[in-house]
C-alpha cells in the first residue's frame, strides 16, 4: 500500500517567547489532500505546523512548530514513504537572534536580521530514492507560472501545484499543475476538497502507477 507524506499548515519562527513570524496557511489544503489520499486506499502521514483544524482520523499526525522541526520530522518519516506532497507553507525566514525574554519596547524600533530557513521540500527531494516521488506547491503573487517552473526544478519535484495568495485560509482554491517539462497538465478550481481529489488523481496516474 503506497504511503504518502503530506506537509501542511504554516510554521512559526519566534523572535522572543511571545512574538513570531508566520503566514495565514490554515492547513485546509493539507487536510483535503490527506482525505483524498486515504480515499484512494493510501496510508497517510501528515507533518503539520500549528493549525486549528482536525486531520482525518486515519491519517497519522506529527505536530511541529518551526521550519527546522518540520524538516527534521519530514526527513525522518520520508524514509518509509513512497512520495511527498509539500502543501505546508513553512516560514522561510528566522530571526538571527531569538531573545530568551520578551523584547521590551524602547520607543526606538528594532532591526531584525533574518536568515533563510532550510527549504524542507528541496532538502528531502534532493536526496530521495529513485522510486520516491515529490510534489510541491508554489504560492506566487507575480510571474506565477515562470516562478513555479523555477521552483519545480530547484525543489527537485515531479509536479508543482501553483496557486495564488487567495488560496490562504480560504475554503476554495484555483490551481494549475505543472510538470517537469513546464507544461500545464491540469487546471482545477473549486472547493479545496474537489481540488485535492483532482491533484491526487494526477499523482495516482502519473506518479504512483508509474513507480509501481
Amino acid at each position: 500500500m503506497p504511503r504518502i507524506l503530506i506537509t501542511s499548515g504554516p510554521t512559526r519562527q519566534y523572535l522572543d517567547p511571545v512574538r513570531y513570524l508566520t503566514n495565514s496557511s490554515s492547513g485546509q489544503m493539507g487536510r483535503w489532500l490527506a482525505q483524498a489520499a486515504l480515499d484512494l486506499g493510501h496510508e497517510v502521514i501528515v507533518v503539520t505546523g500549528p493549525v486549528e483544524l482536525e486531520y482525518p482520523g486515519l491519517a497519522r499526525r506529527v505536530d511541529v512548530t518551526t521550519t527546522e522541526q518540520m524538516l527534521d520530522a519530514v526527513t525522518t518519516h520520508f524514509q518509509d514513504c513512497d512520495g511527498i506532497i509539500g502543501a505546508a507553507a513553512p516560514c522561510d525566514y528566522r530571526p538571527e537572534m531569538v531573545a530568551s525574554q520578551k523584547i521590551a519596547k524602547t520607543g526606538a524600533g528594532l532591526t531584525l536580521n533574518l536568515h533563510e530557513t532550510p527549504d524542507v521540500l528541496a532538502s528531502v527531494s534532493a536526496s530521495r530514492r529513485e522510486n520516491q516521488w515529490s510534489v510541491g506547491f508554489a504560492l506566487e503573487t507575480e510571474d506565477a507560472r515562470f516562478k513555479a517552473v523555477a521552483k519545480l526544478q530547484k525543489k527537485h519535484c515531479d509536479l508543482m501545484v501553483l496557486n495564488g495568495a487567495g488560496a490562504m485560509n480560504s475554503p476554495n482554491n484555483d490551481v494549475e499543475i505543472i510538470d517537469k517539462a513546464g507544461n500545464v497538465i491540469a487546471q482545477l478550481k473549486g472547493s479545496k476538497a474537489l481540488v485535492a481529489r483532482g491533484i491526487l488523481a494526477e499523482i495516482q496516474s502519473r506518479l504512483i502507477e508509474h513507480y509501481k
Copy 2:
C-alpha cells in the same frame, strides 16, 4: 446600562502579501471577559484581531487585522463606552516597508527594520473622559510585577491585569490585578471563564460602581 469595550486577540503586521509578524493570542480571555460582562447586564463591544473562536452572540463584534486598524476602531467606539478592557495582544512592531509582492528568497537573508506600532490602550486611555475607566493586561516574562506597574502608569489605566506567557492560547490563566498604588488587589487562577468573572467582579465594585 454600562457599555464596555473589550479588545481581544492578536493583530498582524504584514511584511508582504503572505508573511506577517504576530503572536499566539487566541482571543479566549476576551471571549470570557465579554461573557462575564454580559452576565452582569452590561453592553459589550469586542474589537478583535483574527481569531478562530466565536464571541458571545449578544456582544457586538468589530473585526480588525492590524494594530493601526485596532486603534482606529477602538478610538471610534470608545466614545460611546463607559470603560475599556485591553485584553488584546496587538503586534507592537511593524515592518518599515511592506512589499506589494511576495518577497522572493535570494539565499542572502533579509534585514527588517521594524517600527513600534501605536499603543492602542495608552492612546485611548490618555484622552479618556473623567468618567471613563480603563483596565489593561500586561504579559511579562521577567520582572513581571515591576513592569506591570510601569505599564499601568504609561497606559493611564485604573487597573492592570498581569499574566505570564503561559496564558497565551491556553484554556487557563493565572493573574494578579494591580491598582494605581501598585497594590496587588486580587490573585486569580483557574479557567479563563473563572478568571474573567473575577476580573469583572473587581471592575464592577472598584470602577463601575465608583463612576456611577
